[in-house]
Amino acid sequence: MTQADVYDEERIGRLIGLLPPAPEGWEQAAKEIPAFRRSLDEIVSRAEADAAFRPALAANLETALREAGYEPEPRLVEALRRHLGTL
């Protein structure tokens, strides 16, 4: 007997119900991961190469990001704090 043979309509309905949409905003945030990673990589590279930028980030992350043209979103700020600790 194959798996398809044991599908009755009640079970099919239950299985459909196991995969509701992810909560609002989660999917959009996941779609933004490539752009987020690009920003993160750019900022980290610049912090490694630019002797003035690194201390500016360390002094006031949000302000330094704004001055460099980046929106200091919480996710970016949190990721940068982790990275800066390793620079």
């Binding site: 798996q3 398809a4 043979d5 599908y7 009755d8 309509e9 099919i12 309905g13 239950r14 299985l15 459909i16 119900g17 196991l18 995969l19 509701p20 949409p21 992810a22 909560p23 989660w26 999917e27 945030a29 996941a30 779609k31 991961i33 490539p34 990673r37 996710r75």
Partner: protein
């Protein structure tokens, strides 16, 4: 190779080429599955589930080049998500004791989610309006009235439409086609 596996392989190749539409498609295709693994398989609290969800997709994005078989992206994503969830549970347990799901119960749930994904694939193949009606009723828990209003269908006919669409989906899952009704709509 199934149609889905072929589609997945192509989607992965497009993601590797940096096609932003492909990444969006990949997220849309697997977001419910990843969410269910976190929330139902591992029963993470909503905040932890959200972090795990984002971390899982981040790992997918950053490790896509390490995927050996592009057609096996679904089990690979499942594996990555499971590892993320286990890491979350371990971190949470270090802070305070957590009530763990028994491993056999967890495995049974995860197996069922794989089945649910296969049903979802079949649902997508059904096309509109069946896929929309069944998704709204079973996955989004919408009432007949809400479905009727959204799809501009009399709410009194929703129950019978659900029944016909379920039969059609069952036939799709069993790999056989039902004859198309006169309207060409349901059967």
């Amino acid at each position: 190779m199934t149609d889905e596996a072929r589609t997945d392989a192509e989607l992965v190749r497009r993601c590797r080429r940096g096609d932003p539409d492909a990444w969006n498609e990949l997220v849309e295709r697997f977001s419910r599955y990843v969410h269910a693994i976190c929330a139902k398989g591992f029963r993470l609290e909503p905040h932890d589930a959200e972090d795990a969800f984002q971390e899982a997709f981040t790992r997918v994005y950053t490790r896509l080049d390490s995927l050996r078989d592009d057609s096996a992206v679904r089990p690979w994503i499942a594996q990555l998500t499971r590892r993320v969830c286990l890491d979350r549970l371990a971190a949470a347990a270090r802070e305070q004791p957590v009530e763990e799901v028994a491993p056999d119960v967890r495995e049974a749930t995860l197996d069922e989610l794989d089945e649910a994904f296969a049903v979802r694939e079949a649902l997508t193949r059904l096309g509109e309006p069946c896929s929309e009606i069944l998704d709204r009723f079973f996955a989004r828990d919408e009432s007949y009235r809400t479905i009727g209003d959204a799809l501009d269908i009399p709410s009194g006919t929703i129950a019978s439409r659900i029944s016909r669409c379920l039969a059609k989906l069952r036939a799709e899952l069993e790999g056989r086609k039902q004859p198309v009704g006169r309207s060409g709509e349901y059967r």
